[in-house]
């Protein structure tokens, strides 16, 4: 049996508590702090780092009785769409081991697809839960920004990211979301919401009126389009109605996303200087030289490029050109979604415009990889939730369908996905 390289650290952490996750095994992405267990973010710079605390979501799953199976592989600092930028090697897609599992939460999605666990935690900044869920043929949710605490999630782009559940069923998504959601004093970007049992919505499957943006389907691969429309037709027979719509603002989503994410990353990763934790270089006689050597030695290529591009985009003379314009695009996309949600209950797209790449194929062409995020990035920019579900309409490789809803409409997503699960399974 091929080693899929799912885990960076395989170490079981059990809880004495009993609760909603009693008897459940959960795999946890390696950018979420697990106390006293190596947490690396897929990087050499945190090799050997053992956090002195648990992330809030980790604390919550342990207090509900979960057994954590280990820390899963990921693109370095969550920067990637294939899990190939990890310092610890690529993860193989269990469905086809010559292909990538998607990224950056590839290890978590592979753990679920491989049957090691039913539930896993990932993080999603520009698609990093939904993409691997799509490529591995499982379910993945990016919650509304502010629904789930980011305390203990080692930051890449903190205005965009959320911790999200990955599971082999809609019920699994709902159960994990119930446990991890909720306001947290340690993360003031979380929003006060009523404690909700999301599993109840799985018992209330419902059909909805759907808009499908032409910008996010017309340029997809033929096989993706076929699988998507075939699934939509089946949903139509169950009461969903759909129409093609235009959403021109999303055409700049990828550029706006990367400018914002790289800018935030250049700031968030400034903390890795080797003094308080992590790798420390032996070179460099003074503060600046030693920091530069530490970071130069222990960050991978993709991370270095993004830090530099982010530094450039926020530097004097360029901020107006890049960062401010990207934020304006963000506002436009958010408004366009809002106005479409006045006419449609859900907006639905293929999760990824492409099928899973072969391992090694995408690394030389960063633009090709960035454009693969075209369908997922508009959602992070708008702070709204989206759920990827497997269509099971493709003969060989998985094709995911992405359902998008207004802020805090996870109940609607779960109702829709439950009906879809029954219909498409």
């Amino acid at each position: 049996m091929t080693d899929l390289n799912i885990y960076i650290t395989k170490e079981e952490v059990q809880s004495d508590n009993k609760g909603l996750l009693d008897g459940e095994k959960v795999a946890v992405k390696d950018n979420l702090c697990l106390k006293d267990v190596q947490t690396t973010c897929g990087s050499k710079i945190l090799e050997g780092y053992k956090p002195p605390y648990n992330a809030t979501v980790v604390e919550k799953i342990l207090s509900e009785g979960a057994t954590i199976t280990g820390k899963t592989n990921m693109d370095e600092f969550a920067m990637g769409t294939t899990t190939e930028t990890s310092y610890y090697g690529a993860t193989k897609n269990p469905v086809d081991t010559e292909r990538v599992p998607g990224g950056s939460s590839g290890g978590s999605a592979a753990a679920v697809a491989n049957g090691d666990v039913n539930l896993a935690l990932g993080s999603d900044t520009g698609g990093s839960v939904r993409c691997p869920a799509s490529f591995c043929g499982v379910y993945g949710l990016k919650p509304t920004y502010g629904l789930v605490s980011r305390y203990g999630l080692i930051a890449y782009a903190n205005s965009l990211e959320q911790v999200g559940p990955i599971a082999d069923s809609v019920e699994g998504i709902a159960k994990l979301l119930t446990v991890i959601s909720g306001a947290d004093e340690n993360d003031h970007t979380t929003v006060e919401t009523e404690a909700t049992d999301y599993t109840q919505f799985c018992e209330d499957p419902q059909a909805y009126d759907v808009g499908v943006p032409s910008e996010l389907i017309d340029n997809a691969d033929e096989e993706v389009k076929e699988a998507f429309w075939s699934a939509m037709d089946k949903l139509e027979s169950q009461g969903f109605s759909y129409e093609k719509i235009d959403m021109p603002s999303v055409e700049k989503a990828v550029e706006a996303y990367y400018v914002i994410a790289m800018s935030e990353a250049s700031s968030n990763l400034a903390r890795f200087d080797g003094v308080r934790y992590g790798h420390r270089s032996e070179d460099g006689d003074n503060w600046n030289e030693n920091f530069s050597a530490t970071r130069g030695e222990a960050f991978g290529d993709e991370v270095k490029k993004r830090i530099m591009l982010g530094t450039y985009a926020t530097s004097e003379g360029y901020k107006d050109d890049y960062y401010d314009k990207a934020q304006s695009v963000r506002t436009q996309i958010r408004s366009e979604f809002s106005s479409k949600f006045n006419e449609y209950d859900l907006i639905v797209t293929p999760t990824m415009p492409v099928k899973p790449f072969k391992i090694g194929d995408s690394l030389d062409d960063p633009i090709k990889m960035y454009l693969a995020d075209a369908n997922t990035t508009p959602i992070n920019l708008s702070n709204i939730p989206a759920l990827s579900l497997p269509t099971r309409e493709s003969d060989d490789l998985p094709v995911g369908m992405q359902m998008i809803a207004p802020s805090f409409s996870e109940p609607r997503l779960l109702r829709a996905a439950s009906l879809a699960q029954d219909t498409l399974d």
Binding site: Y49, K50, P52, Y53, E185, H188, T189, K252, V254, E255, A256, Y258, V259, S266, A270, D273, G274, V275, R276, Y277, G278, R280, G284, D285, N286, W287, N288, E289, N290, F291, S292, A293, R295, G296, E297, F299, D301, K304, K305, I307, M308, L309, T311, Y312, A313, S315, D320, D321, Y322, D324, K325, A326, Q327, S328, V329, T331, P366, I367, Y370, N383
Partner: protein
Amino acid sequence: MTNSPERVSEDDVHHIAELARVTVDDEEVERYIEQMDKVLDRFESLDEVKVDEEREDQLENIVRPDVIDESLTQEEALGNAEETKDGYFKGPSTN
């Protein structure tokens, strides 16, 4: 020989790397520069965007009272550092 980039020169890349405190050697600069140039080329599609004069911000700043609460012990806080001295983190010399 690769096409020379239009938007960033090798000197630019070295300068940015210095600002970001990330050492890059000549081989890396050569490898990165073409890709970075392509990315900046795509970012130029943002040129046509009009910047809103009033951007709506949905998030309010939230603060908590400045009251001492439980935190890490000194031992826990120092636990991952490569060099410590008398309860301090020990860093490289400042100059």
